[in-house]
Amino acid sequence: MASVSMNRIHKTYGSGAQSHHALKGVSLELADGEFIALLGPSGSGKTTLLRTIAGLEDIDDGEIRIGADTVSRATGSSRQHVPPEGRQVSVVFQSHALWPHMTVHDNIAFPLRQGSTPAADVGRRVQAALASVELDDLAQRFPSQLSGGQRQRVALARAMVGAPRVLLFDEPLASLDTELRRDMMRQITKARRSDMPMVYVTHNQEEALALADRIAVLAQGEIAQLATPSKLCREPANAMIAAFVGGGNVVDATVVQAVDAHNVRVTVRGHSFVARCDRPPTAAQVQVCIAPGAVSLSTQDDALELRVAFVFFQGGSHLVETDLPRHGRSFFSCVLPLDAQPVKHELLRLQVHDAWIIPTP
């Protein structure tokens, strides 16, 4: 029994020529305690999907269930919509959304005071929630007296204190710097509970890969791929995902021959290598995804010869952009070790170690 279930959700803003089809039949199931990240560029529909779960947006078609309860349903002209206050869900907002006129204690106590929690329990549970985010002694402060990181921790405590059925995150780390981002990622991981699924909206793949059990990549109102982080990186379903997650190079290749059911030998500019695949391709021309780190310098005769166009020094390595066009806007790039010392216009000889044939739809 999935604890959140979304079935063919449609959502359109506006009407007529101005309308925008934000969600086009999205279906998604979350198991109890599962952490799913919704990853996608802005305008992909990920925030809209989160808001439909919270009840902050209604839906035009489809059904959303939390546990055994149907919270949103729209078919034809019939509409059913449980308002947000009736859903027992929590949200951690991007801008923390702490109420400036209440103390930290009152902010966190707010969800409890809406229910039937006895007054004595409220204090105890607020203290426990504050302790869990390691802010025990700030209960009487006002939000304006906290740092950005502390505010976001209080927002997390407020979201957890009422034992919600689902915990939703709307880009909670977007306004924090790198150090605080790591810290909040630890806090969020600590907050996971086996009976509470979490949905996490982000456009930052690092957060999604680090936190989530599964990642749903959204593009133009549809789920383009739903997979575990490692599968998403190693086996992207299309060129957009390959480029968006992990910055993989998608280039054209020619099939030479199948090695077995899941490995095919291909060539790019005369260089031949083995690429993984779901099922052997039927066409002679395919697209392969090569991660920037999946190549190394080579002395072989049939090496992939590429000319250096730009060198971005990364501190511990070099990111090199070459003259081979790839799908998307930029050129084939690869990571080379510190001692390689690539120079602009130099001819590189490379060996591809790992590649993935992008499945044809």
Partner: protein, 573 residues
């Protein structure tokens, strides 16, 4: 069943909550009752009159020489008043905003106080200046001075006073425009080698021209609709503008009074409407969507000229604001005309008379205070709900009827009054509110909704929407959400709006002049009646009291204003 129809529309508007639906119905009914109904009633009177038996009388009223004269007078005082306001407002706004003059906050406050004072009291005050001024002129050797009538009475005085009174409107729009200028625009001109005066006239002023034009159009509309100044300065000199002509028609109350007044209200509405169209056209221009960096400080530093500029600004305040008020105060403290005012002769008898002994003026204070506070309370609730539904819920019906909110406020006051008279002249369901305070109170609710709503709307716009969404998500239903989150967060904006409503309702004369009767006097009516009855000293005493009250309310709002988002209080940019 209209109610079912409404609820049906609401169901399609996707409201999730029954109490929010109820709140929407309340707001819609309020708008229909107070904004749409009076205007519709007036329009109906016009159309039916022109189609029916009144046709001849109404057309005759339109063509009569008194109408044509009053229309021309309205146009000329409106245009010249707006021109004076425009020049004066532009110069003061430029000096205060673009240079490093000191006492800036005091100058801004003093300048805006002018617009917040009751116009009829300002007119009364200016009338008092002539006697001492004449004495001074005679003492200086100008023997003929006493053969002149009071020069403030009549056309020139009305134009000058309207200009000074509404200059703050231009000042505020221009100042807001100047504060919104991207700093780069000025810096680029200076880096290119332009001298300050060139930057001012070739770069800055052209960029604030839309703001200047919008402010000038606003001053024109306000001048056309003003009743207090032409009533005090024009009626004695038999120089009538449209509002005062309407007043005289209705005071006569012959059989043709209503059709005549209705026709005149059409003329004044058309004039005001033209001004409003111009204002909207200009106001929509000249907004810089992207403001990379605003002015961090005044771009022009005055050195040796600074004391002179400060002297001129403070001198203008002294001359145009303090001097008439001192003359008014002198009038109110003098036992009788002609008695020299010394410490020995100074008396409070006029204050005691108006505040204690005269039943009508005491009633006027009770009525005005009660109605202004009552209107502010009712409007606070309605406007808070309206702003919540419009800004947060994006209620399609309220947002579509948005422009209705402004109608009773931008219509000239006399027009709203005539609409109210037509609407409530006959008893409705056996209840007659005509000739009671109730009709004035209803008119106040209609007129001041826009004033109460504006600061709350801008409060909502500056509140992160997530604060309200969080309250929903964490389980608070509508009414509790209002109580625990919305009201505490928006209380400063609501209070600021309420104080503006109290201020304007206390100062108001235009509406009550046409709607009052014995028992429903207002402070404005009391000043007017006393002056017309020759009791100038008593009128001056009420005037001084209302000026003091207006300043107290403004000061309270200013203290509160420190906690407000910018732009809520007109005198705090």
């Amino acid at each position: 069943m209209p109610d079912l129809f409404l609820l049906n529309m609401l169901a399609r508007a996707r409201f999730w909550n029954r109490s929010e639906q109820a709140a929407t119905v309340v707001c819609l009914l309020f708008l229909l009752l107070f904004a749409l109904l009076p205007v519709a009633r007036l329009a109906m009177e016009l159309v039916l009159g022109l189609l029916g038996s009144q046709r001849g009388a109404m057309i005759a009223a339109l063509r009569s020489s008194s109408t044509l004269t009053a229309t021309w007078h309205s146009i000329e005082v409106g245009l010249v008043g707006a021109l004076i306001a425009s020049v004066y407002g532009l110069i003061v706004a430029s000096l205060v905003t673009l240079t490093n003059v000191r006492f800036r906050n005091w100058i801004v406050y003093a300048f805006v106080v002018q617009a917040m004072l009751p116009p009829q009291v300002v007119a009364l005050a200016w009338l008092q200046i002539w006697t001492p001024l004449r004495d001074v002129l005679q003492a200086l050797g100008w023997e003929n001075a006493s053969s002149f009538g009071n020069p403030f009475q009549g056309r020139g005085g009305i134009m000058a006073l309207l200009g000074v009174h509404y200059a703050p409107l231009v000042f505020l729009t221009v100042r807001a425009g100047l504060l919104n200028l991207p700093a780069e625009v000025i810096e680029a001109a200076r880096v290119s080698g332009a001298k300050p005066l060139v930057v001012l006239t070739r770069v800055i002023w052209p960029l604030v021209t839309p703001a200047l034009a919008a402010g000038t159009a606003l001053a024109f509309v306000s001048s056309i609709g003003n009743f207090g100044i032409p009533a005090f300065l024009g009626i004695p000199a038999n120089y009538l503008v449209l509002p005062t002509l309407i007043y005289r028609e209705l005071s006569g109350f012959g059989s043709s009074a209503i059709p005549n007044a209705t026709m005149l209200s059409l003329v004044v509405s058309v004039l005001a409407g033209l001004g409003i169209l111009l204002q909207h056209r200009f106001a929509s221009k000249g907004h810089f969507k992207v403001t990379p960096s605003r002015l961090s400080g005044p771009p022009f530093l005055l050195h040796r000229a600074r004391p002179w500029v400060e002297g001129v600004l403070l001198g203008l305040i002294l001359l145009l604001l303090l001097m008439p008020m001192l003359a008014l105060m002198a009038k109110s403290l003098r036992p009788a005309p002609g008695v020299p005012l010394t410490w020995a002769t100074v008396t409070l008898e006029h204050y005691i008379y108006v505040l204690k002994d005269n039943d009508a003026t005491v009633r006027a204070f009770v009525n005005s205070i009660g109605m202004s506070v009552g209107a502010a309370l009712v409007l606070s609730v309605v406007a808070l709900l309206m702003a919540y539904l419009m800004e947060y819920r994006r209620s399609p019906w309220l947002n579509r009827l948005n422009y209705l909110i402004e109608v009773p406020y931008v219509l000239p006051g006399v027009v709203l009054s005539i609409a109210m008279i037509l609407l409530y002249l006959k008893p409705i369901m056996g209840i007659s509110i005509y000739n009671t305070v109730a009709i004035i109170f209803l008119a106040y609710l209609a007129r001041f909704l826009a004033i109460q709503l504006r600061p709350i709307i801008s409060g909502f716009q500056q509140l992160p929407v997530e604060m309200l969404e969080a309250a929903e998500v964490f389980g608070a239903p509508f009414l509790r959400r209002l109580r625990t989150i919305v009201i505490p967060l928006l209380l400063p904006s609501v209070t600021a709006g309420a104080m503006l409503v109290v201020l304007l309702a206390l100062n108001e004369l235009t509406i009550s002049a046409l709607l009052w009767s014995s028992g429903s006097e207002t402070i404005g009516v009391a000043v007017f009646s006393l002056e017309q009855g020759g009791e100038s000293a008593a009128a001056a005493a009420i005037g001084i009291v209302s000026v003091v009250v207006a300043n107290l309310v403004m000061l309270m709002a200013s203290i509160l204003g420190r906690r407000l988002p910018s732009g809520v209080l007109p005198w705090r940019a």
